[in-house]
């Protein structure tokens, strides 16, 4: 085992602290996060790989849809107003599915936040993920925290210039790749990548890449934690989402305080001392530049890297992990009451331990049961309800639709034999990527027949018509009823469309108008 005395404290100052907060217009102080290692760091690498992998590669997944539809798994075809997502094809009027998914994402965010705090901020938010990626580049080129601080403080040498140019170039390349990946969701990816490099792609493609390159570079490389602290509304909203049973990254001062770098000396002097050795490892790794020991604060994105850093130190010291840990406010309060003897004294860590140095039985630990409480049941229920509703709607939705518009001017026309004619614009929606022959029939309206303008179809009560794959067919249909069979100035009847091969059908109830007193 390593000698404990070799552990050197890091000379560092908290950048964003309520105690020393500078006026808002003060220049930003640079943050040089140290590389952390541990379980949470490993988890973050995993999340980063998955999220970035999906973002950069999903546009390239193929999905066979036959000869009449694109074979790209995820495609937002704005020109043709279609959205393809694997086996799902969405028409513009079905966009509520996307709205539903966004509502689910919102409720899901409430659910996650009320259970494990700002997990979105800490692990999955694009800002966090890309800043992490940019920091990887920065560390690889300029070295870890101390090297970077030295380089930053040092004069502009050729080496510094070279490192900086190299770093910013790589950042810009990542930015361009990020912007580049985005546009592939809006067009056939292999075609577009060819066009992009031969300079023949649409201007909007280049503009989008340029804008996203600029924002990625600026937010991920230059602005970083300022985006979370000053620009993002979520840190403000989270206060309403968290309650006393929500897990959040917590410095357990009931076992850490009073902190001391010279524990043995203090102990020898007969004073109580906590587990915190004030090494500042938690501050050094923090990408937000805060000191978690000041308690829960707006800037904290709960990335949990301070937990990794502190656990590493506790391991070296031979103490229990979890001086900084995910804990709920209620557990923390319980333990705090214990350590302060009911709030009557300052923190005395010996109160939470038994004589042989182990934690007392009275110390509260998180139990998985705490996740299940009325609030999370409501969120979960709401989320599932919307999800099931969308799923049901998706599984039962029509792929053959019929819309009818009645001519308003004139509403009816009297023909020379006294019969009455009404005009209708009939829209047949073939919503599958296959050509179909559809049969249109009128039901009701005694003696009436239909004729179709511009189509070589004999007048009758039914006709069959081919419709192109994945297209809307618009027909101008005249319906005519003999004078003797008109029963009322306004009669209702039905247009029915069916696909006799798939047994799909749809109906539309229309009105047939005639003069008040038929001549």
């Amino acid at each position: 085992m390593r000698d404990k005395t070799q552990l050197t404290g890091l000379e560092t100052e908290t950048v964003n602290s309520a105690k020393t907060r500078k006026p808002l217009y003060a220049a930003r102080q640079k943050i040089f996060p140290k590389r952390a290692s541990g379980n949470f760091r490993r988890f973050k690498w995993l999340v980063m790989t998955i999220t970035l992998g999906i973002y950069y590669l999903a546009a390239w997944l193929p999905w066979a849809r036959g000869p009449f539809a694109p074979d790209q798994a995820v495609l937002l075809d704005l020109a043709n107003r279609r959205f393809y997502f694997f086996f799902i094809e969405i028409w513009p009027q079905e966009f509520f599915y996307v709205a539903g998914l966004l509502v689910m994402a919102g409720v899901g965010l409430f659910l996650i936040t009320s259970t494990v705090g700002r997990a979105w901020c800490g692990y999955a938010c694009p800002q966090t993920v890309w800043v992490d990626l940019f920091l990887v580049v920065e560390r690889a080129i300029e070295g870890d925290r101390n090297a970077r601080m030295k380089l930053d403080a040092g004069p502009w040498t050729a080496r510094k210039l070279m490192l900086r140019v190299f770093k910013h170039t790589i950042w810009l390349v990542i930015g361009a790749a990020t912007g580049g990946a985005w546009i592939f969701y809006f067009a056939d990816a292999p075609t577009l990548v060819g066009e992009l490099f031969t300079g023949t792609a649409a201007p909007v493609a280049y503009i989008t890449v340029a804008v996203l390159t600029a924002t990625t570079y600026t937010f991920g490389g230059l602005m970083r934690e300022q985006v979370c602290t000053y620009m993002c509304p979520w840190p403000r909203i989270q206060a309403a989402m968290l309650d006393e049973s929500s897990l959040t990254v917590t410095y357990n001062d009931w076992r850490g305080e009073p902190r001391s770098r010279h524990a043995k000396k203090v102990q020898a002097a007969g004073q109580s001392v906590g587990d915190c050795v004030d090494c500042n490892a938690c501050v050094a790794v923090c990408p937000m530049g805060i000191d978690i020991r000041d308690g829960q604060q707006l800037e904290c994105i709960t990335c949990a890297l301070c937990i990794d850093a502190c656990d590493g130190v506790m391991d070296k010291l031979g103490k229990e992990r979890g001086l900084i840990s995910y804990a709920t406010l209620s557990d923390y309060n319980t333990n705090m009451m214990l350590a302060t003897a009911g709030g009557s004294s300052s923190v005395n860590p010996s109160l939470v331990r038994t004589a042989d140095g182990l934690f007392s039985d009275k110390v509260a630990h998180f139990h998985i049961r705490k996740i299940f409480r009325p609030r999370t049941y409501v969120y979960m229920g709401l989320w599932s309800l919307i999800g099931l509703g969308l799923l049901y709607s998706l599984l039962t939705r029509d792929r053959l639709e019929l819309n009818v518009l009645h001519d308003r001017n004139p509403q009816f026309v009297t023909l020379s034999d006294g019969s009455i004619r009404n005009g209708y614009t009939v829209k047949l929606l073939n919503m599958i990527p296959e050509p179909r022959t559809l049969v249109v029939t009128i039901q009701g309206l005694d003696g009436a027949d239909m004729s179709v303008v511009g189509e070589d179809i004999p007048a009758g009560r039914s006709f069959a018509i081919p419709v192109e794959p994945d297209r809307l067919k618009m027909l101008k249909v005249f319906v005519r009823q003999p004078a003797g069979q008109i029963r009322a100035p306004a009669q209702t009847f039905k247009f029915r469309v069916e696909d006799r091969a798939s047994f799909e059908s749809n109906e539309y109830t229309a009105t047939f108008n005639a003069p008040e007193a038929p001549r």
């Binding site: 006026p23 217009y25 001519d407 308003r408 001017n409 004139p410 026309v413 009297t414 023909l415 020379s416 034999d417 006294g418 004619r421 005009g423 303008v453 511009g454 005249f478 004078a483 001549r519």
Partner: protein
């Protein structure tokens, strides 16, 4: 200022202005903001040189780039005309029935004709081409002068009873009030009404048929089916330009109203007339 005063609470220097102990803090604008502001000023100067900007006494500076919003509009209109060009020339060279048979051309002609209709024709024929008393409904299948596309084109081109056009559609029903007696008018009206409906006094039908045979068959035909040569209406159908029923028929026999439609070719040109003909033909009654 030598005695620079620093505000104790905010730690910010003050401007030196003081009112009853209240001092004005000196918080300058952020540098990036000031720089952006200066850049916009420089940009604005360059802009006024490049583009028309400064008003002079009777005109304005034209700008070195030669930009003009009027030219923009002119170019857009030229481009729009050019885009229509191939359709226009096809409409010009083809007959109306050829146009009606060609899907793309028909669509173009209907759109263009529909627009022209709304400007020139709706005053009489109504916005839905449904007409009204004295003004024919163009949606139905009853045509005084013929419902084929070419016939419609002829009607629009030369008009009806339009005095200044030599080829205009011309016919004139005499005012029978001066020719036959009032009784005869009542009889023939009853007969004509009976061809498509009921009449009050069936005893008038028989003598009415005789009056009809003597006076009306020359134009309206033996069977009263009319004659498109003279624009003589079919008297057996359900469509009555000046109203149905014995009274309305009697009025028309006594002193007929005769509608006039202008010849449009002089005003609209042949291409527009063709487009209008295709549009009217498409309304549902075209033959």
């Amino acid at each position: 200022m030598s005695d620079e005063h620093i505000d104790e609470i905010s730690g910010v220097s003050t401007t030196g202005h003081e009112w009853d102990g209240i001092r004005e803090l000196n918080n300058p604008l952020p540098r990036w903001w000031v720089i952006t502001f200066y850049v916009t000023i420089v940009w604005a100067i360059g802009y006024t040189i490049a583009y028309p900007a400064w008003p002079l006494l009777h005109s304005a500076t034209t700008g070195v780039l030669g930009y003009s919003s009027r030219n923009e509009v002119r170019n857009e209109l030229t481009a729009a005309e050019a885009a229509k060009g191939k359709y226009i020339s096809a409409v010009e060279s083809k007959s109306v029935s050829e146009i009606a048979a060609d899907d793309g051309l028909r669509e173009f002609a209907i759109a263009a004709g529909g627009a022209a209709f709304k400007v020139n024709c709706v005053q009489c024929h109504g916005s839905g081409a449904q007409g009204s008393k004295g003004f024919p409904n163009l949606n139905d299948d009853d045509w005084l002068w013929g419902g084929k596309a070419e016939q419609i084109q002829q009607t629009i081109t030369h008009g009806i009873r339009f005095a200044t056009d030599a080829e205009t559609r011309l016919s004139e029903m005499p005012a029978f009030g001066d020719i036959i007696t009032a009784d005869q008018i009542a009889q023939v009206s009853a007969y004509v009404a009976s061809l498509s409906g009921k009449v009050r006094d069936a005893s008038l039908i028989q003598p009415g048929a005789k009056v009809f045979a003597e006076n009306c068959v020359a134009c309206h035909g033996d069977n009263a089916k009319g004659n498109r040569e003279f624009g003589a209406p079919d008297l057996t159908d359900a469509i009555w330009l000046y109203g149905s029923g014995e009274t309305a028929i009697a009025a028309q026999v006594r002193a007929p109203k005769q509608g006039v439609m202008p010849a449009w070719v002089g005003r609209l040109g042949e291409i527009k007339v063709k487009e209008l003909a295709v549009y009217v033909h498409s309304l549902g009654g075209g033959e």
